[in-house]
């Protein structure tokens, strides 16, 4: 029996982008205001899960053909790479660098290697959550 979830599906189509945008915002703003890679990653996974609830696993994996295990591995590589990168500058592991750069359009922007590390965290969180949910969900 196919249930009628028109309202959920319609809402999802709009809300999804809001959540994802919000999660990106929270991720980037994390260094100065509440947020960060961990929450951002969780929010993005939440958005994808909503998509899965509104439609179904197969449709979602067609829309987003992402291998989440690779995603988690990439995240680890980012985080570990940033941590180890410090060694090449002859400073202890995990030493971060930062500075202010004048970018076009964005203006004076603080750039921070911690963001790359946080991006790693973000990817790992999304990758891990979605791997777990996808494997359990697809299992029959």
């Amino acid at each position: 029996m196919k249930t009628n979830d028109l309202i959920l599906q319609t809402t999802t189509k709009v809300v999804l982008f809001i959540i994802i945008l919000f999660s990106f915002h929270i991720f980037f703003a994390g260094h100065y205001t509440p947020g960060g890679g961990f929450v951002g990653g969780l929010l993005t996974s939440g958005a994808i899960i909503l998509l899965m609830l509104a439609f179904d696993m197969k449709t979602v994996s067609q829309i987003l053909p992402v291998n989440y295990i690779y995603m988690a591995a990439t995240g680890l590589l980012f985080a570990g790479g940033t941590a180890a990168g410090a060694l090449f500058f002859n400073v202890p592991l995990l030493t971060h660098a930062f500075g202010h750069v004048d970018l076009p359009i964005l203006g004076d922007t603080a750039l921070h290697t911690a963001t790359i590390f946080d991006l790693g965290v973000f990817l790992v969180v999304v990758g891990v959550t979605m791997t777990i949910i996808q494997t359990i969900g697809e299992d029959e």
């Binding site: 994390g30 899960i49 989440y68 777990i132 969900g137």
Partner: protein, 798 residues
């Protein structure tokens, strides 16, 4: 990092590239890429002879774990160099031999050479490290690579059995040796062998001295296959023959001998050291040679022969250690045994190495190693036959080969025991020459069996798988080199005397004055008559072998050491299985009970013992309306979970509790926590819903029964956590670290959100490992579910 260190780790470095080379150049036998390395290392180590022959040593140090005094100290002295030359020299020959022995089309050469290089590097590390922890690390690496090489043909059950057996026995000894090393460290405060030797005189009275001695010896005995631990070596013969020649006769099994020699200056003052080594050595010598005679597999004969020869070297080292108790004349008198040990160590590597290769050739060209099927191969393989004659005659102690010289010196050492008047040797010492002589007779017999049953007698083509013919030249080069060494050293033993033997002797017996001149003819001394007696009785017994062979049937088959090992292993396995089954019942609820019960127990005990419960209400803020409201919501939500019957309702209630907790965070102005908690709750509810699908259907009549244990445990957990929270608030042992973060978040890390800065910067190491753990968990779940289904699904699809 010096060139010496690089030499030690170079095999490991090459091992990394072997799989790549194997993939890229499938048409070239991978062995050709490996071969240059041992040759290069051999010539490199040869250059050290000029240094060590003047009794100097070279020490290079690289810090490894300086905090606990563990540095990678590479030290080349006489003893280390002798072994290094054996490892690289025999290593080169074995690699060359393996190129012809292992077919490049059928075998997985990449793994073979990776394991072999691992071993080579590890073994070099063992003999050239001056630090005991580094030595131990390399030591276990040799056990490990030996395990891999014995199990190289892992589809054979016997290989797996042999690999496991060798691993269990040698690692048992290795761990005991680690214990001995730690005891030595406690006594001397250093892991460096040279420093321990310098302090040796001061620790003999220490109560830990004897335990350390026994622990170290256990390591040496298991590794060198001394009775009663010898049982792993015959089963290790399942390895490819080049491996047997290399690891299980020429080098790895001599690591125990190396350790004993190395530690002699530390322990020799103790009579127990002399007795244990000499006693176990001579017992092994006899038992090995006695059992070798009844074997029918050529490699088994060689395995028992190796055991017996190792015992012989061991007993010589033990007796030679007594020399450290004397000065001047008597020192050299008893120290001659040590010289014999070092000399025989070298000789054994040459003749036994060549014999293994000869047996490998016979196996390769006829398809069998069973002496009952072999015979009359002399006409088909004249070169191999000659090599076998040289090897076995040297092993039996016949002139003019090098084995004769060291056998004579062995007899000399044994006879001199009669005059030893310390450690009660005057009473039991006479047994040594007697057992040594009997064992030598058996050595003579199995040597003759090995060569004559294979190469002379009746040729039985119907029992052979292949038509025998002479081996290709490449396969013969290595044994020819070794056999020529047997002869050259037999005639000119003194080319080794000052260059290799004397420096090695110096490492075992410091400040000795032993005359290392080796001569062929000693005059009509007892040694000569002993040798003549061995030959005479040996020939007689060899000819009458079928008549007295029934002697071996008197030994009950049920009482062998192998039986003991097999049954013991099975017993341990069954017992631990039984024990595990008593508490691991497969139900996750039971496990949670264990975990939480332990949690309560450990925390409650700690609080009680430390008297840590303090309740102080002086420093709390006022409780407002919202707090009470939220707390009530949490309590009501939690309690109602207990009374709902539907899982769905329970999950939603649990979610509600979680959301309320996050409202608490909002109230206490922790937006980061609130946000995280909210999203986590959302996602875990979704996850729960997914997992429902897999839970067994709940029947309607099945009510949630009240379980007393669960009730006690859940109340206990709640109470403990409450108590800890209250005490933590009331009792501030040290200042909160938060001030540090408040001050430094912007100045040091250029961030304004403290929580995030802590996560990515101040405590970034934690985060890095947390996400690693998360990924591992995800991979675990993925593997568990996908692999479990994988098999079924594939079948269905087909």
């Amino acid at each position: 990092m010096s060139l010496l260190h690089l030499a030690i780790i170079s095999p490991f470095l090459l091992a990394i590239f072997i799989p790549i080379l194997y993939k890229l150049f499938r048409n070239i036998h991978t062995g050709w890429f490996v071969l240059p390395l041992p040759i290069l290392l051999f010539s490199y180590f040869l250059s050290f002879i000029s240094i060590t022959s003047t009794h100097k040593t070279i020490t290079e140090s690289v810090p490894w774990i300086p905090a606990i005094g563990v540095d990678f100290i590479a030290k080349v002295d006489g003893l280390g160099l002798l072994f290094a030359l054996l490892i690289t020299g025999i290593g080169s020959l074995v690699v060359l031999y393996s190129i012809y022995y292992l077919s490049k089309d059928k075998e997985k050469l990449n793994t073979f050479y990776v394991y072999l290089l691992l071993f080579m590097g590890a073994m070099l590390g063992v003999v050239l490290s001056d630090n005991l922890i580094v030595l131990y690390t390399f030591w276990e690496f040799t056990s490990f690579s030996s395990f891999l090489l014995i199990g190289y043909w892992y589809d054979r059950e016997k290989s797996r059995y042999g690999a496991q057996k060798s691993m269990l026995i040698t690692v048992l000894g290795g761990l005991s040796m680690l214990g001995g090393i730690i005891l030595l460290y406690i006594m001397t405060g250093t892991f460096n062998i040279s420093e321990i030797i310098a302090q040796a005189a001061g620790i003999t009275e220490n109560p830990l001295f004897i335990p350390a001695l026994i622990c170290i010896l256990l390591g040496a005995f298991t590794k060198s296959a001394q009775f009663p631990f010898h049982i792993w070596l015959p089963d290790a013969m399942e390895a490819p023959t080049p491996v047997s020649a290399y690891l299980h006769s020429a080098t790895m099994v001599k690591a125990g001998i190396y350790l004993v020699a190395r530690m002699t200056p530390v322990f020799a003052s103790e009579g127990l050291w002399v007795w244990l080594i000499a006693g176990f050595g001579i017992a092994t010598l006899f038992w090995g040679s006695f059992n070798a005679v009844r074997q029918t597999d050529l490699k088994a004969i060689l395995a028992f022969s190796t055991i017996s020869q190792l015992g012989m070297i061991m007993s010589l080292l033990g007796l030679g250690a007594a020399a450290l108790h004397f000065d001047d004349v008597k020192n050299s008198f008893y120290g001659a045994a040590t010289l014999a040990a070092v000399f025989h160590l070298f000789n054994h590597a040459t003749f036994k190495g060549s014999l293994f290769m000869v047996v490998g050739i016979v196996d390769h060209e006829t398809g069998t190693r069973d002496i009952r099927k072999l015979g009359g191969l002399m006409n088909f393989m004249p070169i191999t036959f000659t090599l076998a004659i040289i090897g076995t005659f040297s092993m039996a102690g016949l002139p003019p080969f090098n084995g004769f010289l060291s056998k004579e010196m062995f007899f000399t050492g044994m006879i001199r025991v009669l005059e030893l008047d310390i450690f009660n040797f005057e009473t039991w010492g006479m047994l040594f020459p007697v057992i040594a002589w009997i064992a030598s007779v058996f050595t003579f017999i199995y040597s003759m069996v090995l060569v004559f049953k294979t190469f002379t007698g009746k040729y039985q083509p119907e029992k052979l798988e292949k038509k025998p013919h002479e081996a290709p030249m490449g396969m013969l080069i290595s044994p020819i080199v070794l056999a020529s060494l047997v002869i050259i050293i037999g005639f000119f033993p003194n080319i080794l005397a000052n260059s290799i033997l004397s420096p090695a002797l110096e490492s075992i017996l410091p400040n000795n004055n032993i005359d290392v001149h080796i001569s062929f003819w000693h005059g009509f001394k007892p040694e000569l008559f002993m040798t003549i007696g061995v030959i005479a009785l040996g020939i007689l017994l060899f000819l009458t072998l079928p008549k007295w062979k029934r002697v071996y049937d008197f030994f009950p088959k049920k009482l062998t050491l192998n039986r003991l090992y097999d049954n013991g292993l099975e017993l341990i396995q069954r017992a631990s299985n039984k024990l595990t089954k008593t508490y691991m019942n497969g139900s996750i609820r039971t496990y949670l009970v264990y975990i939480f019960a332990f949690f309560i127990f450990i925390l409650a005990t700690t609080i009680a013992v430390k008297n840590a419960f303090i309740f102080d209400t002086s420093n709390i803020s006022s409780i407002g309306f919202y707090e009470v409201l939220l707390a009530l919501a949490i309590v009501i939500g939690s309690i109602s979970i207990l009374f709902v019957n539907s899982r769905m309702t329970a999950i939603i209630l649990l979610g509600a509790v979680g959301y309320t907790v996050s409202l608490f965070y909002v109230l206490f102005r922790a937006p980061d926590l609130a946000l995280t908690q909210l999203v986590i709750e959302t996602i875990s509810v979704a996850l729960f819903l997914l997992c429902f699908y897999h839970l067994p259907k709940k029947r309607n009549e099945e009510r949630n029964r009240f379980k007393l244990t669960n009730a006690i445990i859940s109340i206990g957990v709640g109470a403990i956590v409450t108590v800890i929270a209250l005490s933590a608030h009331s009792n501030k042992v040290f200042d909160s670290i938060s001030e540090y973060y408040v001050e430094n978040t912007y100045t040091e890390a250029a961030g304004k959100n403290m929580v995030n800065v802590i996560l990515v910067d101040f405590r970034g190491f934690d985060t890095l490992f947390e996400i690693t753990v998360l990924t591992i968990a995800a991979l675990g779940i993925f593997a568990m579910i996908k692999l479990r289904m994988g098999g079924k699904k594939k079948n269905e699809n087909k």
